[in-house]
Symmetry: C2
Subunit: 734 residues, 2 copies
Amino acid sequence: MPARVTPGGLREFFAPRSIAVVGASDTSGWARFVFAGSRSVGFTGPLIPVHPVHRTVLGRPAVRSLRDLAEPADLAFIMVPTHAVESVLDDAAAAGVRSAIVLAAGYRELGEEGRALEDRMIARASAHGITLLGPNCLGFVNAHAAAAPFALTVPPSLRAGPVGIALQSGALGGVVLAFAHAHAIGVSTLATLGNEAMIAATDVLDYLVEDDATRVICMFLEQITDPARFADAAARADRAGKPIVVLKVGSSQAGSRTALAHTGAIAGDDAVVGAVLRQLNVIRVTSIEELLCTGALLGYQRWPRGRRMGVVTTSGGACDIIADRAAAEGIEIPEFAAGTAAAITPLLPPFAAVRNPIDVTGYFLANRRTSALTVADHVLEIATADPGLDFVLFTGLTLPDARPDDATAAMLGERARWLGERTAAAPVPVIPVGHTCLNLSGYGRDVLAEGGVHLLPGIDLGMTALGHALRWLEGRGTRAAAVTAATGVTGRPVGAGRGAPAPGGGSPWSEAAARGLLARSGVPVVPGELVGSADAAVAAARRLGLPVVLKVCSAQIPHKSDIGGVAVGPATEAEVRAGYERVRAAGEAVPGARVEGVLVSPMRAGGVELIAGVTVDPTFGPVLAVGLGGVWVEVLGDTSLRVLPVDTGDVKRMLAELRGSPLLRGRTPVDLDALAEVIRLLADTAVALDGSLCALEVNPLWAEGDRVEALDVLLVTRSEPPDRSRHDEAGRQH
Amino acid sequence: MPARVTPGGLREFFAPRSIAVVGASDTSGWARFVFAGSRSVGFTGPLIPVHPVHRTVLGRPAVRSLRDLAEPADLAFIMVPTHAVESVLDDAAAAGVRSAIVLAAGYRELGEEGRALEDRMIARASAHGITLLGPNCLGFVNAHAAAAPFALTVPPSLRAGPVGIALQSGALGGVVLAFAHAHAIGVSTLATLGNEAMIAATDVLDYLVEDDATRVICMFLEQITDPARFADAAARADRAGKPIVVLKVGSSQAGSRTALAHTGAIAGDDAVVGAVLRQLNVIRVTSIEELLCTGALLGYQRWPRGRRMGVVTTSGGACDIIADRAAAEGIEIPEFAAGTAAAITPLLPPFAAVRNPIDVTGYFLANRRTSALTVADHVLEIATADPGLDFVLFTGLTLPDARPDDATAAMLGERARWLGERTAAAPVPVIPVGHTCLNLSGYGRDVLAEGGVHLLPGIDLGMTALGHALRWLEGRGTRAAAVTAATGVTGRPVGAGRGAPAPGGGSPWSEAAARGLLARSGVPVVPGELVGSADAAVAAARRLGLPVVLKVCSAQIPHKSDIGGVAVGPATEAEVRAGYERVRAAGEAVPGARVEGVLVSPMRAGGVELIAGVTVDPTFGPVLAVGLGGVWVEVLGDTSLRVLPVDTGDVKRMLAELRGSPLLRGRTPVDLDALAEVIRLLADTAVALDGSLCALEVNPLWAEGDRVEALDVLLVTRSEPPDRSRHDEAGRQH
């Protein structure tokens, strides 16, 4: 294993003052991009093509080998074919080059042979003390350090800004930069990650969390490979007030889990990723536009103080669209205070309605303006002083595509400067937004930059970003506990949690054994006696109270109902006898099943049935799923997930998240503290099984008032259950 | 009422060959926009400012009055103050002008006084035989007729195209045109509607449905004022294969319905609008970007033949994003056929995975291309021949912001032409899409126009639009019946369906009376006897079978459970007696309640409980809501809505739409034909009550196998229920 790359080390890596481009030639599109990108960001250091044959490349004098450099370059961008990479690394080492990007593909992504090649190449780099980004990587842009060893288009005069970006897809780098440029979203460092053989996504995340130039972090992730470090970085980012926005793909991929437990189907890969990101207070988005717009809002704007929004527009239609989108995001649009309305009224034509959201109308067009500020601007100023608002959304600034006549340009410049000052100084934040997602023109970018104004790309994306930002702000701190907890679990050596059992794998325990384990952990289990004869069943039923439930007990029959191994509700001695014989026979008829006996329990009626289960995610380890029984889970998929461990506060939040949660406040309201405590104990029991756990599921978990009982338990572990003598004892425990 | 405006009349209205701009002056922003817009669309006819004082306006000679025109103008754009409008209409009439746009506000939107002013102004126009758009209106653009009497910015060299647009918000006109221009979405006619005093939204819809230049219709609607004509136009558009896409706002506004019936809360204004639009196969969107992107897809592209999508990209990240979005839209991405994969493999580098979606990788950048076509193009050509695909999404064409060097420009031009031909001729449609929502540059627009290629604005919007398009294609024809039916109901005089009772209004019927009405209509009602004594209750219970349900019966007590007026499950004579006395006493205790007696019915257990109710929407008339009982409606809002009447096929589709529909296929599967027939009869009963209906609700409606019974009925009408003698008889009917 190469040494861990540190944020400090990456700070140097991402700020090279001289760059050698190895394999550059006049016909290489990649080399062209690196040279053009360097011009775009204003790279001032030496940029030296290296080629064994050509004496000049793209107009610049070239050297034959890195060994021929007069001074060592800070960074070598290696774009030679795969087979030549290692000898270039030797050259780099000889030349004193300590940082390299490897563009070539044909490594780990090809399977075993490629993986061996990659491991050898990385070992070589490590031995030379070279820090390496890639392979299969298109490089990076650091706008603040004015460096762009980046093998895709960099827009002209790329702006430096607060948005740090890490991408597990190189080709998207160009796409992301183009959209950012079009909307004047300035980038601090954008890094494409390639195969992450030495510098991983979490290393770049660590670097961005510590990078002073970065105020918000946007990531495109295909997978989270190191959950412990990811969680740790997310916790530090949350504490530092540096939001992380993630476009995590893969929601359409089918997950694979042990098929024995119901919760396995619930806790699919993507659902777990979603739960983890929520636990870590990381914003999740589904498009590149949403990624960058959310980043821009959090990176450029003052953050809203709450959900009460004022809206100042120049269009009634925009008011309507904003109101609908606000409702969808849970953002309030309260009435203006009386003083606000009174101050606005004289500014508007008599037919205009003075209300929030407000349309100042287009009546100013009746006569050419003589002052730079518009009615919209004056109304905005009044609205920002309204004591009942947490922020004001403003759609009043529209910029033309091209520079207008001098007089108009002067007025627009003055407005932008005024708006910039207002935005900075107003009692509450002002969020300027365009009507739709339209590129800014070069002129528009300049006017806004001079005014210190940032315009979000359209109402729709802007409202989506506001929803994300508000949830993020509300999630800060309150989720820190969950983050720490998750870090605790996933803080095992990388990969230790991997290799969850294949579907159908693992050894189920008999119910009696599983009940025993839970009972010893303090989880209340419905009373039950394991019996071996009809007479014993009748005696047990008398002790436990009729009516009862009879279940055949066998480690080989995890799903007893399916084979007729359950009798629900025998209420007389004769019925208990008949039930015993029937379920016993059903169990005996299952080929290969060793029947331990029949479990007799009292029947529970009324109350609420839940399901609580823990399965093991291949990336994130044990995951708790909680839901209401029956259709809620089976038809509606109404569950809440958390990576373990959890505390009772977490479990209560999980219960509150369920759409069916009103059922818990029914005729005999469930004691949520008691219920959460039981589920927490169940989860801890699963965690205590450590690497052996495949699935632990209580279904149903019955609750009525402050009574909570596990009615049915399924436990599957990798190893065989402990010996039988302990089960019988445990089975009787209640 | 002015005469109905016809599509033929509007064809003339929207194609003026000469335009007078009344009230134009050098300081009028509106006039500036009209003159600039006319230049932009290439208007060639006379464009004459009319002003009482100025002799020239914006460099053009002006006349003092319309009466001074040498020849009558086809259209007068009247932008004078409100008080001067009527005299200008007189001038117009005298000058032989037959069409006018009125910009002034201060009419109906001000309330009663303004409404009177508007009515008088419209009466004047009607008397003069003038067709009038507005008032409070910014005009229109007809790109095909090269006319732009439009008082907002028109982008330079606006392209004519297939997208017809009608907007109930004038100010959005400029926003819509700017976005359309940025994405080379050509417009046929864009009309802003103002107060719709003479030309209404449905008139413009009719015109666009018949307009040959329009292939798809995009609307921004604040309200649907004439549902019958809207439905009729939608049906004709559906038959003609002309999709309608609607951004209908108001989803955040609270609806108001009779609070007595549960279904009132379900069938809120916006839920009904959503149901109606689905019934009419009208696409509903939530943003301007989505409106225009969906319009562009359906207006420019060949329509997909089904849901099986091939994907050709230059980025693995794009493949991931597309796959996730496809899954969300229900679009399949099947494996390539073996022949397709075999043909593609030799084109790609060895490390590339040949699968659908395919990333052709950026390896072509290693060496400058010598032919215009790229690997992506060749792969696209192969993919379109795959027999298992219905269409191919292509992200392989990226155009630079500015015109590149001549050689590159020539290659891009050749590629665009090739792609245009390929798109037109390929066995399945090719849908080219950009990576994100970025403006096309002027150069990009030209290249695409020459090639006959249209590029959708980004993967996210493109996938959303594809989802809409596929649902629209699948909904064609199958929904025609529903459309006709809805037209039938709403085909009463405009406004006749308005004025539904205020919440709490209307007269509830006693349950016995309501049961009688349903029973006479053929709806199976649970047997029941209305009794006046405990003895009679016991006798009835013996006849009906124990256990029973006892309910106090009074028109003044619509919610019997709330006051303790229901006894569920008395199973012995003593219990029946006790129950009778209790519920009777509870009823008698309600101040002002006249107790008709106690209704005795047998208790139903097992089966499934539904809720089926009809309420009256102020715009669309009677609306049927169907859902599963209990938490399904109350907690989850899981209901399906339809404007009435419906046939049993519609009701079966409603049942299938419920998330809880699996419950109907439970242990004793419900006979869906029988259930749908009962609900259809219930709905017909409500329709037959015509203007008198406030709410008719059966809750629960019980079903088990082929047995379906109304267990509880609530009926509220505007007028008092019929006299009592009929109730008792009906109450006993079963």
